[in-house]
């Protein structure tokens, strides 16, 4: 109906100018992070290292949004639900002393999968806007329920999560040390990135991209889009829950705010800032957003307004985000736009 891409499509790229590809971003991230970590370690810095670790944890949540929005074409406004679910599961079990590092991660995944399949059954059955609103409502309701459940700490949340040792067989990572936690989180996020990037290049991932472009055609080709979407939803929920489970280990507490709309919206903002459908973009976006928030927050407590305004500008003028600046013509599913019905 409309001439597609009037806003997005970059004017034919200047042939003479060589641009950095997205893959350079992938290599640059751990390099920059390791440089940052070693500077931090030498200076004995804790605040910024912990902040950076939090940015990486939030990057996990953003990755989860990107799988849905960037690859499957589903906008979830309630992804914080799974982040919070993972965080609460880990905090509760760790607080009871019932599990260790691995147990906390595994149990949050074990809980997120059935919840996601159940919620996905309802949410994915209803299309488009309904999906968005259901995910939004689901997270709101879950947040309110936790807020009013005394066993889960109510509005105060759960406190007193012990400092952990992560046992990797050959070596141990002391999560009390900011540098070690940062390195662990960096490894985890890069692992998640590589794993998801691989997944999105398998036939499964390709089908998701096809669904995003044109769901009807996928159905005509003999695939059942519904199943693929549900699987993508479950994968995304697990990614969010896994990063959520790391949160109480870093901060030592969880609170109902982790499930609030602000959290979900921030994740979407991160993805848009970073670059939808690139996976690496949201990781950069998360670092950029956490950095921005800290800088702005030191000036004024009303930084939300500035971030909101920047976000709107990004949506209008730079819908491809940071990674879009580095994109070559053929990379990423963000490119192949077919008119969606």
């Amino acid at each position: 109906m409309h001439p597609a891409n009037t806003v997005v499509s970059p004017a034919a790229p200047a042939p003479a100018r060589r641009r950095l590809g997205v893959q350079h971003l992938v290599i640059a991230f751990p390099v920059l992070s390791l440089t940052f970590a070693s500077i931090g370690a030498v200076l004995g810095e804790t605040f910024y290292l912990r902040l950076a670790t939090e940015a990486l944890i939030l990057a996990g949540l953003a990755l989860s949004v990107d799988i849905l929005l960037g690859y499957t074409g589903l906008l979830s406004l309630g992804q914080a639900l799974y982040f919070g679910l993972g965080a609460y599961t880990a905090a509760y079990l760790l607080g009871q002393g019932a599990v260790g590092f691995w147990g906390a991660l595994l149990s949050s995944l074990a809980l997120a999968t059935p919840v996601a399949l159940l919620a996905g059954l309802v949410a994915i059955r209803s299309k488009g806007v309904y999906f968005i609103l259901i995910t939004f409502g689901l997270a709101q309701v879950a947040a309110k329920t936790i807020y009013n459940t005394r066993e889960l700490g109510g509005s105060d949340g759960l406190v007193g999560v012990p400092v952990l040792q992560a046992d990797f067989g050959l070596f141990r990572v002391d999560l009390g040390s900011p540098v070690e936690f940062f390195l662990l989180m960096l490894a985890l996020i890069m692992g998640l990135y590589l794993g998801l990037n691989y997944l999105m290049h398998t036939p499964f991932g390709r089908t998701l991209v096809a669904i995003r472009s044109n769901e009807h055609r996928v159905r005509f080709l003999g695939f059942d889009p519904w199943r693929y979407k549900l699987a993508a939803y479950a994968v995304a929920a697990n990614v969010a829950a896994l990063s959520g489970a790391m949160y109480p280990m870093l901060r030592g507490f969880v609170s109902p705010e982790l499930l609030y709309f602000k959290m979900s919206a921030d994740a979407v903002i991160t993805v848009i800032f970073g670059g939808v459908g690139t996976l690496i973009g949201p990781i950069y976006g998360s670092v950029a957003l956490v950095g921005l928030r800290t800088v702005l927050g030191s000036w004024t407590e009303h930084y939300h307004m500035i971030i909101g305004a920047l976000f709107m500008l990004a949506v209008i003028f730079m819908p491809r985000g940071i990674a879009g600046l580095f994109e070559r013509k053929e990379s990423g599913p963000a490119q192949d736009e077919a008119e969606r019905t």
């Binding site: 891409n5 906008l75 309802v122 968005i132 309110k144 009013n148 979407v268 009303h302 971030i307 819908p319």
Partner: protein, 331 residues
């Protein structure tokens, strides 16, 4: 954070009356007591609570109608709708502090909100209409807008809860039921506004343009209707309805920066259950859900009413994924 309709007192009162009942003994006397208790229950607990539900329901319908009309015509899910509801309430607070009376504020707020909505639609939302991902992008824009607006309220008015004076104190007794005057007034004004909206959409030339543009905007544009201006006007009208509801509800609930969040969830639920873009759906589902919420909060803790409403919404969607009623472009 959750501000629920004020229900606690009647609920506890009912407990007392019910507990007293078995204490009195004797056959006929007991039957009479049971009857009295039942009537008293109806009179002092159920009826006021249903009136509460009805007033909230009418306000929910006003907000939900705006959402539904905006979606039905523009295909935009306005995530900032709750903030426009709050905007109405805050503007009225500013007007009060200037010495303007409640009645004048009620008349003044919609004309103030309309140009704001018009400019926002033309300046921001219309920019991404041509994009192939317009559903997602317009929604994201309104998310950004809601963040900015909420923070702006916090900046200008401070985070504290404000409560305007009740402009119509006192109550009326009708069939032994005590009805607060202000709620009756709210009910009357709300119903009148809903009827007026219906008239505009289904019985005027302007409404015909709106429905035609929702049905096929290219065809409508080729017939000489300024579709983009109709879009902006409809958006402005929808958010003004929310702002109007904000003024009306401010004396009952309070005014605080995040007031839009809680309320809009109920409106969203009503819109989904009724069918997005449907006029009748928004009205019926809004009234019904508010009633369910009001009555259920007599029996279950009020914070469970959100999960309950959500469960109803899910159940409706499982049976009818498109909601109960049709989109207005069809009707």
């Amino acid at each position: 954070m959750a501000r629920r309709p004020s229900v606690r007192t009647p609920a506890s009162a009912s407990d007392d009356t019910l507990r007293l009942a078995p204490g009195t003994s004797g056959g006929a006397a007991r039957r009479e007591t049971v009857m009295t208790v039942a009537i008293e229950y109806l009179q002092f607990v159920l009826a006021p609570q249903m009136l509460n539900g009805l007033t909230i329901g009418v306000a929910v319908v006003l907000v939900a109608l705006g959402l539904s009309i905006i979606f039905g015509l523009l295909d935009v899910v306005n995530m900032a709708h709750g903030e426009f509801y709050a905007l109405g309430a805050f503007i009225s607070m500013s007007l009060y502090s200037l010495g303007v009376s409640f009645w004048l504020a009620l008349v003044l707020v919609p004309p103030i909100v309309i140009p704001i909505g018009f400019l926002i639609e033309r300046g921001l939302i219309q920019r991404v209409y041509q994009h192939d991902q317009r559903h997602v992008l317009t929604l994201l824009l309104t998310v950004g807008l809601s963040i900015i607006m909420e923070d702006a309220f916090d900046l200008i008015y401070g985070p504290n809860t404000m409560r305007p004076e009740n402009p119509l104190p006192g109550s009326t007794e009708f069939l032994g039921v005590i009805l607060p005057n202000y709620r009756l007034f709210l009910l009357a004004v709300g119903v009148a506004t809903i009827l007026a909206t219906w008239l505009v959409i289904y019985r005027t030339r302007l409404g015909a343009m709106i429905r035609a543009a929702a049905f096929d905007k290219h065809m409508t544009a080729s017939l000489g209707v300024p579709v983009l201006r109709v879009y902006a006007g409809t958006f402005a009208f929808g958010v003004a309805l929310a702002g109007f509801a904000g003024v009306l509800l401010a004396p009952i609930y309070s005014v605080f920066p995040t007031m839009g969040h809680d309320f809009v969830l109920l409106a969203f639920t009503a819109v989904i259950v009724g069918g997005i873009g449907s006029f009748y759906g928004a009205v019926i589902a809004g009234l019904l859900l508010a009633q369910i919420q009001a009555i259920s909060s007599l029996y279950i803790p009020p914070y469970w009413s959100d999960p309950l409403l959500f469960a109803i919404m899910v159940a409706v969607l499982v049976v009818r994924p498109q909601g109960l009623f049709n989109w207005m472009g069809k009707g």
